[in-house]
Amino acid sequence: MFASPNRTGVVLALLALAALPFAPAAAKDYGLGSPAGEAEVEAWDIDIRPDGQGLPTGSGTPGEGEDVYVEKCASCHGDFAEGAGRYPPLMGGFDTLKTENPIKTIGSYWPYASTVWDYVHRAMPFGNAQSLTDDETYALTAYLLHLNQVIDYDQEVNQDNLASFEMPNADGFHRKQRPEFPKTEPCMNDCKDQVEIAGRASDVGVTPKEETSTPGDQDASADLDGDDGASEAGTRQLAGDPQAGRTVFQQCQACHTLDQGGAHRVGPNLHGVFGREAGTADGFGRYSPAMQDADVVWNADTLSKYLRAPQEFMPGTQMPFAGVKDEEKLRDLLAYLKDAS
């Protein structure tokens, strides 16, 4: 399929380079490999650089990109590119990089617009890579840049201007020296005064079970059709101590945020969970069928049942948490959730 190699030119070039950096002193030519023609290289070479090198001719606007997005991207990344479950958000997250809950999106984190074009073209849509036309890729790039306030809705993106759009976090990267620790003589004896355990894996309870059991019965058979929503228990006074509950909540933090507008992690953001129907946190896409189908409104009663024994209350829930067995801790946790959410 390839022309027989004519390697003399390569070897001469290598000899000419012999004295220069990176050029080998005596690079032997083994006569293997076939020369790749221009058309072959062009067909294979798909990479794009921040300076625009590699961009094909084409163009698109945010409006055109929105149509492509809704058809091909929204099912994973959400209607507004806000993300869903473990599928990443593609927009927003500004001013979060210094916080305890940094949200790294195209707008808040990515330094170059070219990376959007390159990645969307080479790897998206997930499961149907390199199926987008060049114009569709420009349009999607334009839409994502627009959602991140980099360009206006009517701004066309093309091969000549893509490299010129400055991203909000373009200056956010550096190569400061690593490691940061001075080399010291290792201490061998009496190296510290006290040793204290600050946390343990069993507090978190997210380690996978290793039994090779069959998946649990996904048919949420428990009768969840009761009229829990407005039960008296739901409005009763919470007797727990919110301050102590804050400590209990540390077990939950790996998967749940509690602040208003906080991100969904493995589990949904819990702001406003009291009074919310189960399985309805906006933008959370990882609910189990059991949670989605449950006819439950979260209140002190339902939450305490669920948090005491998640699988018992809602068979099939994906929350990998054994439950709070200590009744006092459970009351404290509920008091904290009520206060903080």
Binding site: G33, W44, D45, I46, R49, C76, K98, V195
Partner: protein, 439 residues
């Protein structure tokens, strides 16, 4: 996970008694359905009526001693013993949205020596495992070269070969542990590392075949998977010790490890070891693709991020005792672990039994190779008192593995990548182990 039952602290006597019915070995026998073997130890097979029928549950004349086993061709590709069926890669389901863009973990706690068996090397895919027909696979070298070239896999195998043993560690190994002790077992906390012998062609030699132009400062490596994984490799590294590998541990690469070709970038983060390698492009600048901007950059507390943090810094972990293993017993125990450094050779490993107050230098087992897992052990007479066991790696450059507190002080909690802090296992009174974080 299930805590494997612990045998009684007493030394078992060879008295023909029934033994502990819950000993791990017996448990595995039972699981394998061979409990019936003990029935053979009936009087008919005893040399005398007084002869011991079994020793600690092991029959004198088991089936496998009496009857023929399967013949040579029963398994044309050998598999581990059926009694080791729980030694497998495992995933953490809640980490990722799909298994196609996900990771699983090497069962370090069950392994000895420094070589990871091919079928147990952790997997990390971004678009699922590409199943590549080598006859239809090519490696292109283009960009700033005198003559762009295309190689078949067979042609690459004709070129001079190199054989080297290296560890590969994902930059996100231990990434779930930044905020505190989270996953209970070194398979999950440290299992995104493996170590095999690679056979392949020097990347330098390959680039020379195409004739490098002096303006070339970077090499883009690109995969043939559905993520078309791509990373920029600095030319200095490309010409140093990288390989284009076609074999691992003596056989062709496993499909999940990049069959038929993968880049080997010794000491650098695993994401750069592009699998299903199909193209190498020489350029004068880095490409800043998704995996070197959005991902694999290390966010710091001030909101800025370090980029191009390729090197895997010195690290170690005690693999036994550890949380997924049966509880230990009082008396003699061997502490076993692994240490490694992207800088070169491991020079020394120290082990603490008291949470870092006092340290004991462990024995390093040969071979100790650069950018390769190194096995260490320490003899331990366990009194039965609770202990906090740790290991720290010191490499040939003098870099000492930091404590988690030291690391968090300079990197914060949100770096995700490059957590090489010291791991602590608590050994409890009952001999079981748990992942704990010290203040």
């Amino acid at each position: 996970m299930s805590q494997k039952p612990k045998k009684s602290g007493q030394r078992q006597t060879v008295d023909g008694g029934p033994g502990d019915p819950l000993s791990p070995s017996r448990r595995r026998l039972l699981a394998g359905g061979l409990a019936g073997g003990t029935a053979l130890a009936s009087g008919a097979f005893s040399r005398s009526a007084d002869a011991a029928k079994s020793i600690d549950g092991a029959p004198v004349l088991p089936d496998w001693t009496k009857y023929l086993g399967p013949g040579t061709d029963a398994r044309s590709y050998g598999q581990p013993s059926q009694f080791e069926s729980d030694v497998v890669r495992r995933n953490v389901e809640w980490l990722t949205a799909t298994t196609e863009s996900s990771v699983n973990f090497t069962p370090l706690h069950e392994l000895d020596g420094i070589i990871t068996p091919n079928g147990l090397c952790f997997e990390r895919h971004h678009g699922g495992m590409a199943v590549v027909n080598p006859a239809e696979h090519r490696l292109m070298i283009n960009g700033l070269v005198e003559q762009p070239l295309v190689f078949t896999v067979d042609e690459l195998r004709r070129l001079p070969q190199e054989n080297r043993i290296h560890f590969l560690e994902c930059a996100a190994n231990s990434g779930m542990e930044w905020h505190g002790a989270q996953l209970n077992g070194c398979q999950y906390t440290h299992g995104m590392v493996h170590c095999v012998q690679y056979t392949g062609v020097s990347l330098k030699l390959l680039l020379e075949q195409a004739g490098l132009k002096t303006s070339g400062k970077w090499v883009l490596a690109e995969g043939a998977d559905s993520a078309a994984m791509s990373r920029s490799i600095p030319m200095e590294k490309a010409l140093d010790d990288c390989l284009v590998a076609y074999s691992m541990n003596g056989e062709r690469l496993r499909p999940e490890q990049g069959y038929p070709l993968r880049l080997v970038v010794p000491g650098f983060e695993g994401n750069m070891w592009v699998k299903w390698l199909r193209r190498l492009e020489v350029g004068d600048k880095a490409w800043y693709h998704r995996e070197e901007t959005s991902k694999y950059t290390d966010l710091l507390p001030d909101g800025t991020a370090r980029k191009f943090t390729w090197l895997m810094e010195p690290k170690s972990v005690i693999t036994s005792p550890s949380p997924q293993l049966p509880a230990i017993e009082t008396g003699f125990n061997t502490i076993k672990g692994l240490a490694w450094s992207g800088n070169g050779k491991v020079k020394r490993v120290d082990v603490s039994l008291d949470g870092g107050v006092n340290w004991h230098t462990a024995k390093l087992h040969e071979p100790v190779l650069p950018k390769c897992l190194t096995r260490f052990t320490l003899d331990w007479e366990w009194s039965g008192d609770p202990a906090l066991i740790q290991s720290r790696c010191i490499d040939e450059t003098g870099y000492m593995q930091p404590t988690m507190a030291e690391l968090q002080k300079v990197r914060g909690l949100e770096s995700i990548y490059h957590n090489n802090g010291i791991q602590t296992w608590e050994i409890k009174k009952d001999g079981s182990a748990e992942n704990v974080r010290l203040a």
